[in-house]
């Protein structure tokens, strides 16, 4: 309940002096930042442009006309990456939530599943994604099971989902464990069962808390869908590769990289903002 600001107030001469000093300081800092930026960027650019191989690099990596030519095929490939990301992301969310809940439950009937969930997370969190993609992509079709599609897009997605579910499960589990036991005690003392306590009290708070790290994982997921290209899926990476190996001009790689960045940079910026908002909210928690 602050008092209303007195309208008759005008700053004292000391305050006017201070404002002047602050303005001078910030002007000087702006000048230093500008000079430093120009110096560093200028040096980097001049080193690159004056290097002996620059003419060749410019032609093989930054050929604008060729870039324009391959753009449609790269974009078509990127569409595959995006589909993989969203469909995979949904499956990952569901599986990871299940794994996290299994790992945090104390129910005796679920003991074997708890062990399995722990083993699953250990294995898929510890093995390189590219190996899982190769093993699933080439191993599963070799089993010749009926009813399992041998479509490489499907198998690639499965491999990515298997691995990311383990990562995301750990993030969600850490969120669940971060909720203070007093919340659980309060819910249980109201007569809520342990399941109800998880569903209505713990999980909603836990998920809110882990949204920023989950957004991080989502950005990684989009990038890592590029790895399914090793199975022959014509995604953005593969499309660029095909074009590049046809002409020995590597501009398509740069185009593909630029396309990924166009999506991931706004996402990471947004994530950073979400993390900052979260930190601010936490620091004001508990203040009366």
């Amino acid at each position: 309940m602050s008092e209303r600001i007195n309208s008759a107030w005008s700053p004292s001469s000391r305050e006017i002096q201070r404002r002047g000093a602050r303005k001078r300081i910030s002007r000087r800092q702006g000048f230093i930042a500008a000079v430093s930026t120009l110096l560093v960027l200028g040096t980097l650019i001049s080193i690159t442009v004056t290097s002996p191989g620059w003419a060749v690099v410019k032609k093989t990596f930054f050929d604008i006309n060729y870039g324009r030519e391959v753009f449609p095929t790269v974009i078509a490939g990127l569409w595959i990456n995006l589909q993989l990301t969203f469909i995979g992301g949904f499956c990952i969310g569901v599986i990871a939530l299940g794994l996290a809940l299994l790992r945090t439950t104390k129910s005796p009937a679920l003991t074997p599943f708890r062990f399995l969930a722990t083993a699953y997370v250990d294995i898929f969190r510890g093995a390189p994604l590219i190996l899982i993609i190769l093993l699933v992509g080439f191993g599963v079709p070799a089993l010749r099971l009926h009813g399992i599609p041998s479509n490489v897009i499907f198998l690639g997605t499965v491999a990515v989902v298997l691995t990311y579910s383990a990562y995301v499960a750990e993030v969600i589990r850490s969120g669940i464990l971060s909720i203070h036991p007093s919340q659980r005690a309060a819910a249980r003392s109201l007569g809520l069962t342990s399941g109800q306590t998880m569903r209505y009290v713990v999980l909603p708070q836990a998920i809110r808390r882990v949204v920023p790290p989950l957004l991080n994982d989502f950005v990684s997921l989009l990038k890592d869908t590029g790895l399914v290209s090793i199975l022959g899926v014509t995604d953005a990476v593969r499309a660029a590769q095909i074009n590049a190996s046809r002409t020995f001009n590597y501009t398509p790689y740069v185009v593909a990289a630029a396309m990924f960045l166009l999506i991931t940079i706004p996402m990471t910026r947004y994530t950073d903002r979400a993390i900052r908002a979260r930190t601010n909210a936490q620091s004001s928690e508990g203040v009366i």
């Binding site: 109201l190 007569g191 809110r208």
Partner: protein
């Protein structure tokens, strides 16, 4: 008068530390039993044991004559009959005041939503918090949060209310608004067990005051007797220290 709560020879230890040592207590209906004693004397643990948030090592706990320390008992059903209010409020931060209060009546007692909301609003009105119904807990003062926490446990019409140092986290100005609710409940005939450091308040509401020291009740009796004419030297010593701290 029948006893709502009956504790006989309760024993509880954490590791090698004995927290409750052969403690017995009876709480008749419509009475308030006040637990006093230094921090670590076992007050909070006793309340948590009654609510089955902690398991006891020996002894028996009876609620309305039924043994609730039986491992085969349905703990959720027992807790429905017991209200508990904590020192640190423990409101659910992601739910509004109204949602905090109606969660258990709807999910635990199976009341329909409208009915629960009407009952909750009536309680909020009674305790002067109507305008806070749709606020989130972090927008409330400590005193308001604790009043909401009390209302939350009242919404289940508990047989017995357990209050664990509910004013210890509040600044002195806010203490009274919380204690006045408890006085109201006392005059309504609510059966209560409360741990507190507010000796003046204890004098007002207590039918029985129990002084706890290293897990046992060293002295018990009316507030007049225990707080103003204690016999046990340890009680005298404790009250002297409370008095020196300016809390009597």
């Amino acid at each position: 008068m029948s006893n709502v709560l009956e504790l006989s020879n309760i024993r509880k230890s954490f590791g090698t530390e004995l927290v409750l040592n052969d403690l017995s207590l009876s709480v008749p209906e419509h009475t308030a039993t006040v637990l006093i004693g230094a921090s670590g004397s076992g007050k909070s643990t006793l309340l948590r044991c009654i609510n089955l948030l902690e398991s006891i090592d020996d002894g028996q706990i009876f609620l309305d004559g039924e043994e609730i320390s039986d491992p085969l008992i349905n703990v959720d059903e027992v807790r429905r009959k017991l209200g508990m209010v904590f020192q640190s409020f423990n409101l659910f931060p992601h739910k509004t005041v109204l949602e905090n209060i109606t969660l258990a009546p709807v999910k635990v007692q199976g009341k329909n939503k409208d009915e629960a909301v009407t009952a909750a609003l009536a309680l909020l009105k009674r305790f002067d918090l109507s305008d806070k119904a749709d606020q989130y807990p972090d927008r409330l003062s400590g005193g308001q949060q604790q009043r909401v926490a009390i209302i939350r446990s009242l919404a289940l019409n508990p047989r017995l209310l357990l209050l664990d140092e509910i004013t210890s986290a509040l600044d002195p100005v806010l203490v009274n608004e919380v204690l006045s609710i408890v006085r109201d409940l006392k005059s309504d005939g609510m059966t209560m067990v409360l741990a507190t450091h507010e000796m003046g308040f204890a004098t007002q509401v207590a039918d029985e005051v129990c002084f706890l020291e290293s897990g046992n009740i060293l002295e018990r009796g009316s507030a007049e007797a225990v707080l103003h004419a204690p016999i046990n030297p340890k009680t005298q010593e404790f009250l002297k220290r409370v008095h020196q701290a300016g809390r009597l």
